[in-house]
């Protein structure tokens, strides 16, 4: 404010540093919750490492397919400003009111003018090594990082550019500016989120693996590009040295991770899974038989459904796993084949492979110390961002938050969850300023065109010479004019440019157009722009249609000008037939009750409640037990030692109980939930037996999980056999004494009944073993394990335990340890794989690392909310990779151990994430839904319920009307896929904007012969 410089004034804007998937997610959550976002990235486009990946585990989803809608949403969001080629040079102020100084490198392109048509790159005579393809391909000196890049603005690589002037000559948009200079900028923001990601480990530092010397040794990220259909070899797995298809590939794990020599002691947390995925996908992509072998130390498949993937990799896909750290790789210079040297069964072995893939770890981003210094945040000893267990998104500087791999190495879903969590934190401190920095668009009142004859206007784009150089655009325009109901047609140099938008608006008004067609590029990126344009001219946006005469015509029939022109005419005729039938659609507006219901009062539920309350929303928190706390009540101390979980629990409970906005119901249960996003009504059965009805806009499921009660290893029959929780309690009480302890891992997990890993037991065993050693160093502690899954920085404690004399012994399923009571003495027998002998010990106590299993209530809660469970009985999110805390049903979210077993910091991150996702709804007075929804004609509906059964979103409900049961679409839940309309036997369901009549008209028109 100009009058006086008070540093109290908060600013409703957030700076997000780093445009990878974490930065993108944080930006979208903030922008959708009423805050202005500045998203900065060092590079020329956003997308990060995920944009380079081929497939993602454990679903083998295509990475670009799931990422690009998010890229487009970020690029188009009215509240997100993307600043590329930018870095922070200074920071002033404090939480709530920061001043950030930026320096931006020049693009040598005027961003506002560049349409991303790409003709410059086609004509550029210079070839440069393409780093998006990890150096395996070539690009031009003027370039975009990848075809789907956002923003789609070209950049000149001035180090490589020879200044020939070709691009300047060819660019019809006059966007080239060779003498453009870098710029400085100052931003005012209330909080900052750091999401700068990670730097892949430099594999040349492990010279024994030959990377950089042997062409057929590649890194895992290079291999992602090799696998990708858009990569240098078009998705064929080929050897870089000779382009031959490999028959045998070795994957070497832990390159630059768990490595004391290099100083990267930590585990990079994602490599086991991506290594496995790359092996599986390589086998899929190779027509001949491919042998894939993974050399690993521990297979850390600790995430949700990861072990099931591991099982399939071994069984169904036949990937071979060898537990051994590879000592070195040498090359046969004649063939380019590689010899992998390793030790198995204490015997040195050498095996020949055609190719070696190094699973490289994650390092902190480059220049991170400079960034940390400028921002005043502390780094940990590995130079990742320092955080605490109970505040996993908070840096050492108030108002600056962190997410993604910069906080600790992690995979995509964890990064996404933490990003949403960071968004919650970032908006929490500026909640009072919500909506102050954002702009909402106003449109003129909509014209009623229902009584008018269709009057179609067609705008055909030259796209510079991208279309016009192949398709005879004037001829297409002339042809369009002959089509039924087309009253206007013209050609544009760039239909998407700013001046053309103005022109389209004028033509709509001058020619009384009531349907508009643009024949240009893809609706996937450009339809929203044109829809806005017609709306600005007073037309309903659904009266717009688009046809793709570039990506699907001129670019793919470049040498067949005549045929391409004919096809462009066919495409225009086809879409015009549809346009004629287009109907205005209303976007349903639904009101939102700004109240949250949270089921479960453990650390996740309480954290989510506090976050929502901090945002200014009322919360009902329902806990089944008599007191709040959940699983956290059983945790006596932490592996990371610093925080006292008991104190933290008490302060959490106190904050929740003292918060006026949070209504706590203990000893209570949610018994019924009706309604949909924004408008739920639920019944809570309270402790006194009375039912209370509440109204709320969202639901967060935080039902937690429970410790498995073992049936194995004499548990329950002998008091000397206890679980980790029981041990922890004894240690905390000071009643634990033993000279010899054996811990057995994976009890009730990774077996036939429960194939997945319970994730937290390895850390728990290490934690308790260290505690025992601390009190009594002479006590012998054995940990019998299948894989020690001490991922991330937990690896440090694994090492510490080993250094302190905890004995770790690997066991296989075929040779599980045996526990027996022989004349009152406990006896544990197990196979010692190094000395290759059965070993017997006589411990005082056997500790079972019992799995964490789903809350038995989940089934009931899932049925009530109509949300799915996994086979194991945990809740199943909308998408394993990019929507970790959402359900497919809008307005319902999940977090914590209801999702899968996890550590406290991970539960807190998810809880904050669920709160952020919920805020995107609760912060709005009303929600505008997509207009493309299904509609039921009650006259035709026979009430057969097929649609109700088919709808994956629960958007169809059956209603009684005049004695008939009829289907009814809850517009707020309908996503417009059209599956119901297709299945309806009486054709009672109409699918907005994709009606059967429209599609059939399109079919018919397409199959007419072009006649111009």
């Amino acid at each position: 404010m100009p009058e006086e410089k008070t540093d109290r004034k908060k600013i409703g804007a957030v700076l997000v540093v780093g445009g990878g998937v974490a930065g993108i997610q944080a930006s979208l959550d903030l922008a959708d919750s009423g805050f202005k976002v500045y998203l900065i990235d060092q590079g020329p486009s956003i997308g990060g490492v995920m944009a380079q990946l081929d497939k993602t585990f454990p679903t083998n989803d295509c990475s670009m397919c799931i990422l690009s809608p998010k890229l487009v949403a970020t690029g188009r969001h009215p509240n997100v400003t993307i600043l590329t080629n930018a870095e922070i040079t200074g920071l002033n102020g404090k939480a709530g009111n920061f001043e950030v100084k930026l320096r931006r490198k020049s693009r040598y392109i005027i961003e506002d003018k560049c349409n991303g048509c790409g003709i410059c790159a086609q004509k550029c005579p210079i070839e440069v090594v393409d780093m998006y393809n990890e150096g395996l391909g070539k690009r031009s000196a003027i370039y975009v990082e990848y075809p789907q890049a956002v923003p789609l603005k070209y950049m000149i690589d001035r180090e490589k550019c020879i200044g020939c002037g070709t691009c300047q000559e060819i660019c019809k948009a006059n966007a080239i500016q060779y003498d453009q200079e870098g710029s400085e900028a100052t931003l005012e923001v209330g909080s900052i989120i750091l999401a700068p990601g990670f730097e892949p480990f430099d594999a040349t530092l492990k010279s024994e693996y030959g990377y950089g010397r042997f062409p057929n040794v590649v890194t895992s990220i290079e291999f992602e590009r090799i696998l990708s259909a858009s990569g240098p070899y078009g998705g064929l797995v080929l050897r870089p040295s000779d382009g031959e298809i490999p028959k045998k590939i070795a994957f070497v794990q832990c390159v630059g991770s768990r490595d004391f020599q290099i100083g990267n002691n930590y585990c990079s947390a994602a490599c086991c899974m991506y290594g496995m995925k790359e092996a599986v996908i390589a086998k899929e992509h190779t027509p001949s038989k491919l042998d894939a072998t993974i050399f690993y130390m521990d297979m850390r498949a600790y995430g949700k459904e990861f072990d099931a993937y591991y099982e399939r990799a071994q069984g169904e896909w036949g990937v071979r796993f060898v537990r051994s750290r590879v000592a070195g790789v040498t090359e046969d210079p004649k063939t380019g084949n590689l010899f992998v040297h390793y030790v198995e069964d204490e015997t040195p072995r050498t095996e020949e492979f055609d190719m070696v893939v190094l699973s490289i770890g994650m390092q902190p981003p480059k220049n991170v110390e400079k960034l940390a210094e400028r921002l005043g945040i502390r780094l940990n000893k590995y130079k990742f961002c320092e955080t605490e267990t109970f505040s996993p998104m908070e840096t050492s500087k108030p108002g600056v938050f962190v997410c993604g791999a910069f906080a600790a190495p992690k995979d995509i879903p964890e990064s996404v969850a933490q990003a949403s969590g960071a968004a919650a934190k970032a908006m929490g401190i500026i909640a009072s300023e919500r909506g102050t920095q954002v702009t909402s668009k106003e449109y003129p009142p909509e014209k009623d065109v229902s009584k008018e004859e269709p009057r179609i206007g067609v705008f055909v784009c030259h796209c510079g010479i991208n279309i016009g150089g192949v398709v005879n655009v004037p001829e297409v325009v002339k042809y369009a004019k002959t089509l039924p109901n087309v009253v206007y047609a013209e050609a544009n140099l760039y239909t998407c440019s700013q001046d053309t938008q103005k022109l389209i608006r004028e033509k709509i008004i001058d020619n009384k157009l009531n349907r508009v067609i643009v024949a240009s590029c893809t609706p996937r990126t450009h339809e929203p722009l044109f829809k806005e344009t017609v709306q600005e001219a007073g037309l309903n946006p659904y009266l717009f249609e688009m046809t793709n005469i570039r990506d699907q015509c001129s670019w793919v029939h470049m040498h067949e000008h005549e045929k391409a022109t004919e096809k462009a005419k066919d495409l225009v005729r086809s879409i015009a037939a549809k346009a004629k039938l287009l109907k205005p659609l209303e976007k349903p507006i639904i009101n939102v009750t700004p109240v949250g219901l949270i089921i479960g009062g453990g650390v996740s539920g309480m954290t989510a409640a506090l976050e929502l309350a901090g945002q200014g929303f009322e919360v009902h928190l329902v806990e089944r037990e008599e007191e709040l706390g959940g699983h956290l009540r059983k945790i006596q101390y932490l592996l990371e030692k610093k925080d006292d979980p008991k104190k933290k629990l008490d302060s959490l409970v106190k904050s929740v109980m003292e918060n006026d906005r949070i209504h706590v119901y203990t000893g209570a249960e949610v018994v019924d939930v009706y309604g949909f996003v924004g408008n739920f009504k639920s019944k809570i059965r309270q402790q006194n037996g009375k039912e209370k009805e509440i109204e709320h806009g969202i639901v967060i499921v935080a039902t937690g999980a429970v410790e498995y009660k073992p049936t194995e290893y004499l548990y329950g029959k002998d008091t000397r056999i206890i679980t980790q929780h029981e041990l922890e309690e004894k240690i905390a009480k000071g009643t634990f004494k033993a000279k010899n302890v054996v811990m057995i891992q994976c009890v009730g997990a990774r077996n036939e009944e429960r194939p997945n890993c319970a994730r937290i037991c390895c850390g728990q065993a290490i934690k308790n073993a260290l505690k025992i050693k601390e009190a009594s160093p002479e006590t012998e502690v054995y940990i019998l394990y299948k894989d020690m899954r001490a991922y991330g920085f937990k690896e440090d404690y694994y090492r510490e335990a080993a250094m302190k004399g905890v004995i770790f012994i690997n066991y296989e399923d075929e040779r599980k340890p045996q526990v027996a009571d022989e004349n009152g003495k406990l006896k544990v027998t197990f196979w010692e794989p190094v000395i290759k002998e059965e070993v017997e010990v006589e411990p005082d106590v056997v500790v079972l690392s019992a799995a964490t299993v789903p809350n038995p209530d989940n089934k009931h809660v899932a049925e009530m909310l109509k949300v799915p469970l996994t086979k194991d009985g945990f809740f199943l999110e909308a998408h394993m990779k990019l929507r970790p805390v959402d359900f497919a049903t809008d307005g319902i979210f999940l977090c914590g151990m209801a999702h899968s077993p996890k550590y406290i910091e991970e539960s807190i991150a998810q809880a904050c994430a669920a709160a952020a996702r919920a805020t995107t709804i609760l912060s709005k007075k009303s929600l505008e839904m997509e207009g493309i929804v299904a509609n039921v004609s009650e006259d035709l509906c026979s009430g057969c319920r097929i649609c109700e059964y088919l709808c994956p979103y629960g958007a169809v409900e059956m209603k009684d009307k005049d004695g008939k049961t009829l289907a009814h679409v809850i517009e707020a839940l309908c996503k417009g896929c059209g599956a119901c309309g297709t299945a309806c036997p009486t054709k009672a369901i109409t699918m907005g904007h994709f009606t059967t009549e429209e599609i059939l008209a399109q079919v018919k028109a397409t199959l007419l012969e072009a006649k111009a």
Binding site: Q552, H559, P952, G981, T982, V1003, T1006
Partner: protein, 145 residues
């Protein structure tokens, strides 16, 4: 028209918005060339594709129909539309012969957004196959009649 030699099949492609249409776009961005015999009709989901659309297309003279959606099992933007398409197209293929249409004229493919080259290859392959089959037999009958 000297129709016999120069038979150019007309193919309708019903493509879902999220993966397969994106694959067709990527073929364009990557400038992968394929014959211009296919006209794409965009729908939001392969689960929207009604068998009647396909039958109408054949009735109206299409020489081939491509239905494409997101990869099984879990790429579908609408969770399970691809499975619905799979069931419907599989069934339809079984009855097409009864209508006098070779089932080879109808193809169901799963395409991810990064498979531009595969999209182009499928179109090339379809055009070749259908050229061997000749024009839509329903069209020939109409001419006879």
């Amino acid at each position: 028209m000297s129709d016999e030699k120069k038979f150019e099949p007309k193919i309708i492609g019903f493509l879902c918005n999220w993966c397969s249409y994106a694959a067709a776009d990527l073929a364009g961005v990557s400038r992968i060339q394929y014959p211009p015999n296919i006209i794409i009709i965009r729908v939001m989901c392969s689960g929207r594709i009604d068998p009647s659309f396909i039958l109408e297309a054949f009735k109206d003279g299409a020489d081939g129909v491509l239905v494409a959606g997101c990869h099984l099992p879990s790429d579908c933007h609408y969770i399970s539309g691809n499975f619905k398409a799979l069931r419907r197209v599989t069934l339809l293929k079984k009855v097409l012969r009864d209508f006098g249409i070779e089932p080879e004229r109808l193809r169901l493919e799963w395409l991810s957004a990064s498979e531009g080259d595969r999209f182009a290859a499928i179109v090339r392959d379809m055009v070749e196959e259908i050229k061997k089959l000749g024009p839509n037999p329903l069209k020939a009958k109409e001419v006879e009649a």
